[in-house]
Amino acid sequence: MSTIAWSRRRRALGRSWADYRRDREGVIGLVILALFVGMAVFASLIADPEDLKAITADAEDYPRWAPPSEFAPLGTDSLGRPVWDQLVYGAQVSLLVGIAATLIAIVIGTVVGVAAGFFGGWIDAVLSRLTEWFLVIPFLPLAIVLAAVLGPSLKNIIFVIGITSWPVTARLIRAQVLTIKQRLYVERSRALGASSRHVMSRHVLPNVMPLVIANATLTVPVAILSETALAFLGLGDPTRVSWGSMLEDSFSAGALGREAWWWYLPPGLCVIGVVLAFTLIGRALEGVLDPRLRDTRAVGR
């Protein structure tokens, strides 16, 4: 890669950042996300993993069902575990599942979409059909069935959400590849004798990448919401605390009837916070990458 190309790219990136900074909602999204990432990364500094275990939570130290006090700022659950520590470690699981599942979905979606759009013909016919089929299968029931059949573990949850989330990406990328193929510079490049590989690596991939990134940012919140729902249904990893599993624990322990709101209010607010952050960032990115979208964009589920 020549130096000119690199400096051009750096400048383009700088311009995009300047555009992004002007989007107030996008900046708010980044700040919220930074808070949660900090919470997940520095979990061991601000919370004690020993507090997650019911056995070590001494009944005298931590009373059960305790409302917030100076002692346990967010109260304790039915086993005497402080809610704060669960919330902090839950951030790790929610972010990990959200991002890892999105990576799987984006890789499958991009490969399927690029292959279908770029090669066309029977490859496109087969891949488009497959995409349509997976689009039609209702997402949550499929994820539930897969998770139930595979058994509950962190790896399976990531796999299940990843494998069920790719069709929207594939369809979007395919459409984008089709329009890129029509562009004059691609025709010119082909006329000059460029190979498929050259066209793919120099023209198609660099042009779909921004869309892939924006789409990935909007897939993460869907994945996090799915993790929460699956964990609430008891399909999460039983050995790890996540925001969804906190909601499940509190619900099955009868926290609603006891009005132990300190147990189930915070995890829900955290889910909303992270989902909102990614959604705001994704919308801002879309606006930067495609200014025509700036006013009309909508969130898709």
Binding site: P138, V145, F232, G234, E259, G268, L276, T296, A298, V299
Partner: protein, 322 residues
């Protein structure tokens, strides 16, 4: 609309259906090789009993024979018997479906109407404070896990204020029949229905907002204004009617999700519908029940997608003449 178009769409939907049916078979049979052993773990079965149960669950013979048997049974809507209750799966599904249709159907219609009205006023007054408030409300409701919202509403309105029952569909102690019984059921439905309505309306509002904005750049609106029509007339007679087109397809499709839409919310409110049935089947896991539910949920989506495909060219002549 040509016959060719209709036939093409119907064949496409049938293809999808075949895919779902085949997928369903492999999903359950390949992963779980011996449900009889799993189900009756720790119990002593005689060989005759084991053979009988294996036959009952359609698990004898080679995979190919099983597949053929499965196709035959599925075509007759026979999904076998529930592991948990030993009742035919299809009977349990029919018994639970009306409650789900009543709850989620009502919530879908309500959220649609409110969401579309929100979207119109946000999109028509784009960039104003009104737009900002409506759009942020929509994004926040979209970001909320619906069952969590249900838990919060339940705590406040049912536990704290005691205005509504905490769950179920009717009060077992009240033996009222007729109108009293119906009112009691409606009273039980208010909170779950409110939860789902709030959870769904954001998506409709956001989509309606963007189609109103798309339409607002069209020349025919300028023409309508030039004719001297009032702003509200331009909006209601010209903008909204055209902006509703893309939303109509979405609406048709979202009816396909009515059956499967409330798994978590039905669980929170112990509403005895298909969602609660799904949740209870997960405990076992009750595989025949899950399998039947999964097929039914997918079938509903396929049917309403087909309806949307067929409806769209009928509503929008521009698509018809392409």
């Amino acid at each position: 609309m040509t016959a060719r178009f209709v036939v093409g769409k119907v064949l496409g939907a049938l293809g999808t259906l075949v895919f779902v049916v085949v997928f369903n078979f492999f999903l359950f049979r390949v992963v779980e090789s011996n449900p009889v052993a799993t189900l009756y773990r720790g119990r002593n079965l005689t060989d005759t009993q084991r053979e009988e149960l294996t036959r009952q669950f359609g698990l004898e013979g080679s995979k190919l024979e099983q597949f053929w048997h499965y196709l035959e049974q599925t075509a007759q809507l026979n999904f076998g018997r529930s592991y948990a209750t030993n009742q035919p799966v299809i009977d349990e599904i029919w018994a639970a479906a009306p409650q789900t249709i009543a709850l989620v159907g009502t919530a879908t219609v309500l959220s649609m109407v409110i969401g579309i009205l929100m979207g119109i006023s946000a999109g028509w007054r784009r960039g104003t404070n009104q737009d900002r408030v409506l759009t942020s409300t929509s994004i926040v409701t979209w970001s909320t896990p619906e069952f969590w919202l249900g838990m919060i509403l339940l705590t406040f309105f049912a536990v704290r204020l005691g205005l509504f029952p905490t769950g179920g569909i009717s009060d077992p102690s009240a033996s009222a029949s007729g109108l009293g019984h119906l009112l009691d059921q409606i009273h039980h439905m208010v909170l779950p229905c409110l939860t789902l309505t709030i959870a769904y309306l954001g998506e409709y509002a956001l989509i309606m907002r963007s189609s109103v904005i798309d339409v607002s750049r069209e020349d025919y609106l300028t023409l309508a204004r030039a004719k001297g029509l009032r702003d509200s007339q331009v909006r209601d007679r010209h903008a909204v009617r055209n902006a509703l087109l893309p939303s109509t397809a979405l609406i048709a499709i979202s009816f396909g999700f009515v059956l499967s839409g409330a798994i978590t919310v039905e669980t929170v409110f112990s509403w005895p519908g298909l969602g609660l049935l799904t949740y209870e089947s997960l405990r076992g896991p009750d595989l025949p029940m899950l399998q039947g539910l999964f097929l039914l949920f997918s079938l509903a989506v396929i049917v309403f997608n087909l309806a949307a495909d067929l409806l769209y060219p009928y509503l929008d002549p521009r698509v018809r003449h392409q």
